[in-house]
């Protein structure tokens, strides 16, 4: 039931995204059921949410704003003004949080997985933004990350799960980031 509650919000989004893709916007608000209780703006639910990386969602869910240059610019603005840059670096190369420009994604690197990581938060300190940021704003951030080249294409979801996409950017950067999964330089 809990899993269903988690999948339900994004499934609703998926359905409507399919309907309104040509207008470039999904306006459905996923339910807040998967989020921590009210009180903290951005607090991480304790416990292991890593299981959500293995999901039976339609794996090829595209970012409704993919390729939209205004969305990329606004996503960059949000990336700085929501303090993402404070943890992930102003160049998104990592710091307190992992690099978002290499090809290593612990919780999945296709757009829908990145969306869910932002929306739900993750166990090692990634806050849950689903209440603070409406879906459109989170997709803008995903669009910005996609423009940086570290994410995987939506259609490549299954290949990404099986590790077949690892070497797209060259081994060096990835080797380092895999080996020291905290790059931990002060930003």
């Amino acid at each position: 039931m809990d899993t269903l509650k988690r999948i339900l919000p994004v499934m609703v989004m998926v359905t409507l995204a399919a309907c309104s893709r040509s207008q470039g916007g999904s306006t459905t608000q996923p339910s807040a059921a998967a989020l921590p209780p009210e009180g903290q703006i951005a607090s991480v639910p304790l416990g292991d949410l890593a299981g959500v990386a293995a999901t039976n969602l339609p794996a090829n869910l595209h970012n409704p704003l993919e390729g939209n240059p205004t969305a990329v610019q606004e996503g960059k603005n949000l990336f700085i003004k929501m303090n993402c840059a404070g943890c992930h670096g102003y160049d998104a190369g990592g710091g307190m949080g992992p690099s978002l420009v290499d090809h290593y994604w612990r919780y999945g690197g296709v757009p829908v997985s990145v969306y869910k990581s932002i929306y739900e938060g993750r166990p090692q300190g990634m806050p849950a933004w689903g209440r603070a940021l409406p879906p459109q704003e989170i997709w803008k951030i995903v669009a910005y990350l996609e423009s940086l080249g570290g994410t995987f294409p939506a259609d490549a979801y299954h290949a990404a799960l099986q590790g077949d996409l690892g070497n797209a950017s060259g081994g060096g950067a990835e080797e380092k980031s895999r080996e020291s999964n905290r790059s931990s330089s002060r930003q």
């Binding site: 306006t27 608000q29 339910s31 807040a32 009210e38 009180g39 903290q40 703006i41 951005a42 949000l78 003004k81 929501m82 933004w129 209440r131 603070a132 940021l133 409406p134 459109q136 704003e137």
Partner: protein
């Protein structure tokens, strides 16, 4: 008089310029009238006929009077223009700095498409942030530092002063003084994006005592919620709004959008685009993209009684 009319100003930052505008306008009209008159005279003036002499030659005569017109014209024009130039320089000097030392300083930052305002106090703890509505004491000059934000905007209160840009990477300075109490409308006057036309602001000039009362109120943190609905509203605010908006006294301290610590004390919302009031602010929250399409306030959808609780809390932010 329409709110954005710059022909009648109400303070020493704008009066010299308004007088200059009227003066140059009058001089220009007079000049035009004189020139038209001269052109008409020249068009319809006829000379006496010239008689040919016995051998069919035309007398050659020095033409007196015509060049004198030129000398007179140039002379008058030069003097008048020179005096206008001096007047202009005097007007610019008069508006460049206030007649007395400014009472205090305000920092204004132009953002797409709203104005962030920070009042600097004589001690750091008297410093507070507000948005879109500036209050000044009547009859006293106030210094304004215009800090560049995202793109170039321009700060203009037509009835009080001229235009000064906010330019990213630098700080421009100007000053305001209102000699009569009242509400003066301001406007961004440098095209800055899709909602440039709806990037206004309000300047309220009031007697010193009232200004101090307003200032003390703005400096105070928002009250703690008392009823259960208000408390629930505070939680909704912190969770849904706090990433972008700030209310001092709560945990919400976002800077992407206007400071809302005393939002219900303002007469307008959305940079003087939308009137303020409990129903109005609900309309804004639910439909910002319909009211000001393209603005940074996202389309939200609120669940169940979230809106009711949120409104109850917002009503306390006087």
């Amino acid at each position: 008089m329409t709110p954005l009319s710059y022909l009648h100003t109400h303070g020493p930052a704008g009066d010299p310029l308004a007088h200059l505008a009227w003066g140059l306008g009058a001089i220009s009209i007079i000049v035009v009238v004189i020139i038209i008159a001269l052109v008409l005279i020249a068009t319809f003036h006829t000379r006496p006929a010239v008689a040919v002499d016995g051998q069919g030659r035309c007398p050659i005569g020095r033409d007196v009077g015509g060049v004198r017109w030129v000398y007179i014209g140039v002379g008058i024009s030069t003097v008048v223009l020179f005096l206008c130039a001096i007047w202009m320089l005097a007007a610019l000097a008069a508006v460049s700095s206030p007649p007395t030392a400014p009472a205090f300083k305000i920092e204004v930052t132009g953002n797409q498409w709203w104005w962030s305002v920070r009042y600097l106090g004589n001690t750091p703890s008297n410093t507070f942030v507000t948005a879109n509505e500036i209050h000044i004491p009547v009859g006293e000059p106030v210094r304004i530092d215009l800090i560049g934000g995202d793109v170039i905007h321009s700060f203009w209160v037509p009835k009080l002063a001229g235009k000064t840009d906010t330019i990213p990477g630098q700080t421009n300075q100007m000053w305001l003084q209102a000699d009569q109490p009242g509400t003066y409308r301001g406007q961004c006057t440098e095209y800055c994006g899709v909602q440039h036309a709806h990037m206004g602001f309000i300047v309220v000039a009031e007697p010193r005592a009232q200004f101090e009362a307003w200032r003390a109120n703005q400096l105070a943190a928002a009250p703690q919620p008392t009823s259960d609905l208000e408390k629930s509203g505070l939680h909704v605010f912190q969770a849904r709004c706090g990433a972008c908006h700030a209310v001092r006294g709560s945990d919400a301290a976002g800077i992407l959008g206007p400071d809302l610590t005393h939002v219900m004390s303002r007469s307008t919302l959305a940079a003087a685009t939308w009137p303020n009031g409990p129903g109005r602010i609900a309309g804004w929250i639910m439909g910002a993209q319909s009211i000001k399409p393209g603005c940074r306030m996202p389309q939200l959808s609120m669940q169940g009684n979230e809106m009711g609780a949120l409104l109850a809390y917002l009503k306390t932010l006087q």
